[in-house]
């Protein structure tokens, strides 16, 4: 059986690689592989647990905040430290704005190009584009003159041979079905989203101290201080500035992101029946409403915690973190006691043993080990994580804000909740989540200001800061819903230093290989039955994989003087 292979070739090492069997124009089987090993955990052993967040936030180049947060939560959980309410609220504000930023960038700057044909936008009529844009939203930049200017800019850019961000698209591919005007509108919003995200992320500079890497994380709270009359603390002015930025975020999501989603989706409704995958979903839940560590108090979270099995939205199962285990049956690691077993993160082992082919190679031996990712499972069951999982768990739990937003999108498109189990559903869920969380950020700011007005300016609990106040041995886990899914850090502290550290990242849940029982991971399952119009341009594979918003490649990053391509598509 010939295989379609999509492998982003990197300068130094590989990243995510998909091999798919295509028969009669449809994917009949798929394998997801990560061709790079990093083993960050080894760097942490022996270090001061209070410093762990500084290292873990460097794991990922863009969502630096999520590993910092999971790390401080893990250490606080181990040492039984409860940060003050203000610290939780500041962390929530950083996290919520991270979501809005991340989802906007994902939608416009990565995923949109799977649906929007940039070259077709050159054929659009600016007046007709303005008419289209005004019919779907009251977004301000929608005049014929504006779209004419965007078209000129795009034409200039393309005529100089600088396709820039658009160089490697499959332009003209038969799977693109938007009219030129919708394409031009999307290009215009692509540019606006660049400006938007540039301004919006100033929230992190305000709350995180030094920009771009936030410095305010601290075991026990945050190093940000509150003094309404001081220039060097969170003060009256910064609160006003924060509110303005958060409002801009909500407006952009309401006026651009959601209307664009609703305008594009009807042209691709067949994708509401493609890419569904496992049908099992897990969310750790997040955004604590009080001071308690969310690892300990799952009942007081804005987004609920739970598990949905077999697409059954009527039952949200409670989540037990100790039912998380990882397999290495198809991963390039050895387990003491045999590779067929699974291990909980506290007993986790990371002993690499590459048995794959020497690169360059044509195919991986997928009957044996074929990935650097482990296969995490919940209660021995493969589950999907990410925006769709979170929205389904919240929807099933009766979260009114999520129910309202999901219902609005479904009713506008004239479809039922069953379409959520798809590539399009995953993409729509991310938009819905951006809408709900952009609003929630403003609600958290209200709560924060009310708390400060009540006289509480505490941002750090230093009671257990000194290592001599710690037990000889302690274990804890930090759970965080990162934008792309459930993230957990697991730490064992012994004699005032880190003895063991394990990280289970969202993309491992989604992109991991088959487990010891032969069950496929989320990507592998979602790619089944996907139609492929042209095996040499497998745009459809990218659509589904992008709908998960993978995060594999973030950390390795070198300028390449020789300009190697990052993706090689091979039809074998």
């Amino acid at each position: 059986m010939p295989r379609v292979v999509v492998d982003p070739l990197t300068r130094i090492e590989g990243h995510l690689r998909i091999e798919a069997e295509v028969d009669g124009g449809v994917i009949t089987d798929a394998w997801s592989s990560a061709t790079m090993w990093r083993g960050i955990e080894t760097i942490l052993k022996g270090r001061d647990p209070r410093d762990a967040w500084y290292f873990t936030q460097r794991i990922c180049g863009v969502c630096t905040t999520v590993h910092a947060l999971a790390s401080v939560r893990a250490v606080e959980n181990a040492l039984e430290i409860e940060p003050p309410l203000n610290a939780q609220l500041i962390r929530n504000l950083i996290g919520l704005s991270q979501y809005v930023q991340d989802h906007v960038v994902h939608f416009y700057h990565l995923h949109a190009l799977d649906w929007v044909d940039i070259v077709s936008a050159l054929d659009a009529d600016p007046a007709a584009t303005a008419e289209l844009a005004s019919s779907i939203s009251d977004y301000p930049r929608s005049s014929p003159g504006h779209f004419a200017a965007v078209a000129t800019r795009l034409t200039d850019f393309v005529s100089k041979g600088q396709l820039g961000p658009f160089t490697n698209g499959y332009w003209g591919h038969p799977a693109y079905s938007l009219p030129p005007e919708a394409n031009l509108m999307a290009v215009s919003h692509y540019l606006d989203a660049l400006e938007f995200q540039r301004d919006y992320i100033k929230i992190h500079a305000i709350l995180g101290g030094k920009n771009p890497h936030l410095q305010s994380y601290l075991v026990g709270g945050t190093s940000a201080t509150i003094d309404l009359n001081s220039q060097n603390a969170i003060n009256t002015n910064t609160l006003v500035e924060l509110r303005g930025l958060l409002k801009k975020g909500l407006e952009f999501v309401q006026q651009a992101y959601i209307p664009d989603l609703l305008a594009v989706a009807p042209f691709y409704l067949e994708w509401a029946g493609i890419g569904g995958g496992l049908g099992n979903f897990m969310s750790f839940g997040d955004f604590p409403l009080g001071a308690a560590n969310p690892s300990k108090d799952p009942d007081n979270l804005f987004l609920e915690r739970g598990v949905i099995l077999g697409k059954d939205l009527s039952t949200v199962h409670p989540l037990d973190p100790f039912k998380i285990e990882e397999y290495v049956a198809h991963s390039w690691y050895d387990y003491e006691g045999g590779d067929g077993t699974s291990k909980a993160p506290f007993d986790g082992e990371t002993s690499p043993n590459y048995t794959g082919p020497d690169p360059p190679y044509e195919n991986l031996n997928t009957d044996e080990k074929y990935s650097w990712l482990k296969s995490p499972r919940y209660d021995d069951t493969p589950v999907e994580v990410g925006p769709l999982a979170r929205m389904l768990v919240a929807f099933g739990s009766g979260n009114q804000k999520v129910v309202d937003a999901v219902s609005f999108v479904l009713e506008t498109l004239g479809v039922g909740p069953e379409v959520l189990f798809s590539t399009l559903g995953r993409t729509a869920a991310r938009g819905v989540e951006a809408l709900v969380l952009a609003q929630q950020a403003l609600d958290v700011l209200d709560q924060f200001q009310t708390n400060i007005a009540g006289g509480d300016t505490r941002t750090h609990n230093g009671e257990r800061w000194e290592p001599n106040s710690w037990p000889e041995e302690a274990q804890g886990f930090g759970m965080h819903e990162a934008p792309r899914g459930s993230l957990s850090h697991w730490v064992t502290i012994k004699d005032e230093a880190i003895d063991q550290y394990q990280i289970v990242v969202p993309s491992t849940w989604n992109a991991g290989p088959r487990d010891g029982n032969g069950n496929r991971g989320a990507y592998e399952s979602a790619l089944l039955d996907t139609p492929i119009a042209n095996p040499e341009q497998p745009l459809e594979i990218l659509r589904t994989v992008h709908s998960f918003d993978p995060c594999m490649a973030c950390a390795a990053h070198v300028v390449d003087k020789d300009g190697n391509p990052v993706v090689e598509v091979k039809v074998l």
Binding site: Q162, L163, M552, A555, A556, V559, K561
Partner: protein, 171 residues
């Protein structure tokens, strides 16, 4: 086109790379060493592995100098290389992940929105080792002063150059 913000130096130096992978951290380490030399008119920022998130830093600058590890064929580890704007102007790459958007992508995005600085260069070193581990390899450590000298040369050249035409590079 916005003028430089108050308190914002005309030239930005961005140390790029990941310090968790030995010589991948050349950029951030070089940035700290350069900062210690106390140059005026220059902002120095640890860019880590951020991509599009670097856009706010690029805005309203006359020049941006990247410090980074540089992969190049047939060049010995430890070699100091200087890249100009054309070298950095590579095609965008088809990505699986928004996180693969790196500094060349940030630069092109800046050009798209009319915010590209007129002067752009990179100074870097071919890495010896990029295994997982905090801290540079001994070989790279030995060459760091030379790298920082080369970076300072670029900054000196820019300081003595006539004021650039800002619009030129934003076409």
């Amino acid at each position: 086109m916005s003028e430089a913000e108050p308190g914002r130096a005309p030239v930005l130096v961005l140390g790029i790379g990941n310090e968790l992978f030995e010589d991948e951290g050349i950029g951030p380490v070089a940035a700290r060493m350069l900062e210690a030399r106390g140059l005026s008119g220059v902002d120095i920022v640890d860019g880590g592995t951020l991509g599009l998130a670097l856009l706010p830093q690029l805005e309203g600058r006359n020049g941006v100098l990247f410090l980074d590890a540089i992969a190049a064929r047939e060049v010995e580890p430890g070699e100091i290389l200087e890249l100009d704007a054309d070298d950095l102007d590579q095609p965008f790459q088809l990505c699986y992940s928004a996180h693969q958007l790196g500094l060349t992508e940030a630069l092109q995005a800046a050009r798209l929105v009319g915010q590209a600085p007129p002067l752009v260069a990179a100074v870097g070193m071919v890495p010896f080792s990029m295994e997982t581990g905090y801290g540079l390899s001994p070989g790279a450590t030995e060459r760091m002063e030379a790298l920082v000298d080369a970076a300072e040369d670029v900054l000196l050249r820019w300081a003595n150059a006539p004021p650039p035409n800002r619009q030129a590079s934003n076409a």
